[in-house]
Structures are given as C-alpha cells and as structure tokens.
C-alpha cells in the first residue's frame, strides 16, 4: 500500500543536536534552564507513557524516541514501507516567553531539519517552524526559506494566545500564501492557551479528548474573521485533532451564517463551502466509532474525500497504525486518497509510479 505519513515527530533528542544551529549566547541561555522547554517534559499533566512515547519506540542507543535516525528509518519508515513523511518537530511547542530565544530556536530547528533529516532521506518533507505569536519573526522566517523545496508547509501549534483568525496572525498567513506554502496547525500549546475555553483541566485524559475542541475554535475563528476572503489561496492543515467533529461544526456554522451573516459581510459563501475549500485534516488520533458503518457515514457526511490525509504521530503513544487505523470498509479509491494521493497533491511529494 502507498502510504504518506503526515505527522512524523522526528526528534532532536536533546539540546546537543541543536547546538550547531544556535549562537553561543542562545546555547548558554538554554543551558541555564530554557532547554527544559526542549523535549516537552514540563507539561501540566503526567501521561502514562514516559516522554509521551510508545514503549517500543526507545532507540537502542539510549537516546530519546525518534532521535536515532537509523532506528527511526528502520522502526517506522521501512517497517511500514512509508513513501513520504512530513516532519512535525515538537521542540518548539513549548517555546519560552523570551521572543528572541523563541525565534532563534525556530531558526535552529529549521536548519536542523534540512541538514540532519531531509538531506539524508528523500522521503522526508520539512515543516517550517515559526513563532505564530510574533508576526515579524514569522514573516521573516517564511521569507528566508521561501522557494526552498525542502519545506512543504509552515507549522504552528493550535493553542495560540488568541483565536487564529485575528488580524495579528494575518502577516504570517500572507507570507505563507505568498510562498505557496500551506499552514499546518498541529495540536500543542505554543501560545499558552488552555485546552478549553474555561481553563486547564485536571487530567491528561481530558486534555487528550479536548484536542479536537481547540481546532473547532480555530476553524470558526478563521472562517468568520474572513481569513480566506483575504487570502483566497491559503490552505490550512489541521494536524492531530481527528476529524469527526468537523461535520456538525459545519452544520452549526451554516445555520448561524444564514441568521447572522450581516455581521460578517466579508463571509460571502456558506461557511461549509469555505471549510471544504481551504482546510485539510490529518487522521490521527482517529475516532473509533463502535461500528464501521458509523465511521463510513462520518466520512461521507464530511464531503472532504480529497482533504483527509493519513498520519501516524510516531513515536507518540497515541500512534495510529497504517494497518489498523481505518476500517476495511472504506472503498479502495478513498483509501488511496487518504493514505497517499491527497498528501501528494497538497505537499507535492513525487509519485514513484509516474517516474518511469
């Protein structure tokens, strides 16, 4: 089966591997404690898996999961015969408040991806890490790399400090649209926003379940604020929020629009039309309804057969296995689209079957 994985967390494995890409000052600054932010141990909830990783993903060299390049290739890419994968570094998900350091860390992660991963394995596509909260930095970093084919999307995290449609984020969208790059929004707490609109819950099981609600907020905001009226070529990928929630959200948005559209006259089309045109979604962590029929109905009601893209989230504990994550009842056509064609069309990975 042809598989493209749209969420692969290859890891830097600790500060040492980023050292060549940081200035002496930021290296020293990091050593004083900011590196605790790298590797995400400092989250608010204890998870039942160390480092949030699959128990079998710890490499034999004793390093952190997905940090040993050869083991990553063998244990994941080769094991599942994955044709291509999008890198989604998490080291920037817990960026420090110091904006200059955050900027330096994103720049380091981008160079690190190119030199240590993409240049060593043609299957890998890069995510251009930017600081969503800092428009100057985001714009500058996108312009710096625009046109470099190693980066196939801009990447930010879902828990921004304000709803993502707000105009403070528009310069980032403008730069991404101009560079022809989709904006990936991966679940995570970069801007420090709580996972719910009411604050932070007690348990990780709540945080994990509520991943999808942060995406619901962002879709509503981006559509209603007119981001896509302003940037008609902008493509947004929602990564690690599942997808079952989107259909009822589109129903609610469409209904509200009919009642209240005069408040937002820039919203000239049915919200569901805007959503289907501009948003892509990755599958993991996939919903598991009690019957395959319910799953098929969920996909059918979405009407987004060309927008859903398979992802594993390797090496994280909530990994979705290519062999089991989607029910066997999906049609062969739809399987092909979800597992590879949609990602290939969006990210521009080459198709080996076309290269003979």
């Amino acid at each position: 089966m042809d598989i493209i994985d749209c969420d692969l967390h290859a890891g830097a494995g600790g500060p040492e591997s980023l050292r060549p890409y940081l200035s002496e000052h930021w290296w020293n600054y990091g050593k004083q404690g900011a590196y605790r932010a790298i590797g995400y141990p400092g989250t608010t909830h204890t998870r039942q898996f160390v480092h949030g990783a699959r128990v079998d993903s710890w490499p034999p060299d004793g390093g952190l999961p997905a940090s040993d390049f050869a083991f990553l290739q063998e244990h994941h890419l080769d094991r599942w015969n994955i044709a291509a994968a999008m890198l989604t570094p998490m080291e920037a998900a817990y960026l420090p408040r110091n904006a200059d350091y955050a900027r330096a860390l994103c720049a380091a992660l981008n160079e690190w991806q190119c030199e240590q991963l993409i240049d060593r394995d043609a299957r890998l596509g890069g995510s251009l890490m930017v600081v969503a909260e800092d428009a100057d930095a985001a714009e500058a970093e996108i312009r710096k790399w625009a046109g470099d084919a190693r980066f196939r999307q801009v990447l930010i995290y879902s828990r921004t400090s304000e709803p993502l449609g707000r105009r403070r984020y528009w310069r980032m969208f403008a730069a991404a649209a101009e560079a022809g790059l989709p904006v990936g929004v991966h679940f995570g707490l970069c801007g420090g926003g709580a996972v719910t609109g009411h604050g932070k819950p007690s348990f990780y099981v709540e945080d994990h379940t509520n991943m999808s609600t942060t995406f619901q907020d962002q879709v509503t905001s981006m559509v209603c604020e007119g981001v896509f009226a302003e940037f008609p070529n902008l493509r947004v990928v929602l990564i690690e929020g599942g997808l079952g929630w989107l259909t009822p959200l589109m129903w609610r948005l469409d209904r509200a629009w009919k009642l209240l559209r005069a408040e937002v006259p820039h919203l000239r089309e049915l919200p569901s039309t805007v959503v289907r045109k501009h948003f892509w979604l990755t599958t993991q962590p996939i919903e598991e309804p009690p019957t395959a029929h319910a799953f098929d109905a969920m996909i059918e009601e979405m009407g987004m057969d060309r927008r859903i893209m398979f992802s594993t989230d390797y090496p994280h504990w909530d990994f979705d296995a290519p062999s089991h994550a989607l029910p066997k009842t999906l049609s062969p056509d739809l399987r092909r689209r979800i597992f590879a064609d949609n990602a290939r069309a969006l990210y521009g990975f080459s198709d080996p079957s076309q290269e003979r």
Partner: protein, 135 residues
Amino acid sequence: VARRVVGTTKEFPAGSRRIVDVDGIAIGVFNVAGTFYAVLNRCPHQGAPLCAGVVSSSLESSEPGEYVVAGRHPVLRCPWHGWEFDLSTGRSWWDPAKSRVRVYSVHTEAAATFPVWVEGEVVVLDTATKRGADS
C-alpha cells in the same frame, strides 16, 4: 508440538519476560513475582507488539479521590495505546467479554520429565491447553 520447554527457570527470573516463537506465532512468556503467564504478542486493537508493554497492577476506585492498587492479577498495558489486559485471563479492562487477547497455559516442572539437559526446573508452554480461569 503443543508442549514445549521455553527455558529453564533460571533463565526466567521474577520480573523477566521473553518472546518465544511457536511455529511462527510470537508468544510472550512472563514471570511476575514467581507466577508464569503466556500471552499472544499482538494487541487486538491496532496490532501492537503487546508483550513489549509494562506489567503493572490494576488501579481501582469507588469514588473520586480514591486510588486503590488492586491486588488481583497483574495487568499488561499495551506499549502503544495503553489498553490494559489481565495477564491471567487475557480479558481487557474496558470490555472483558469482547476485547481480549489469547493466553496460554504455562507452568514449571522438574527437568527430569524431559530429556535431561539441565538440573532443576524448566518452563513449559502448552499451546493446546486453555489457561484455567483460576490460574
């Protein structure tokens, strides 16, 4: 052969485990505090190598704020998603009737009953016999 020696008891100290290949089927054999268990190395959820998971006790609670480590059978927690299985019965915590992993009969016996190549006891896996509910 349904009954086979998978090692000596010395090779299976308490807390150890091994994956053994039985005619192409991977089975995990565990020694948990002196009691032996054998489980198919495949999670029924998404096919993970189940026997790479952590062995722990089951946690129970009768009200919020109460955390009781249950002293019954040990549970095996899947290395991918954390689904819990009773090591003795193979039944999952969340749906004991329908979601379960195959378990096998395993015991120790004197090596003398087999062609003698070690002293002491050996660990015998019997894939033809269902593990008793009370074992």
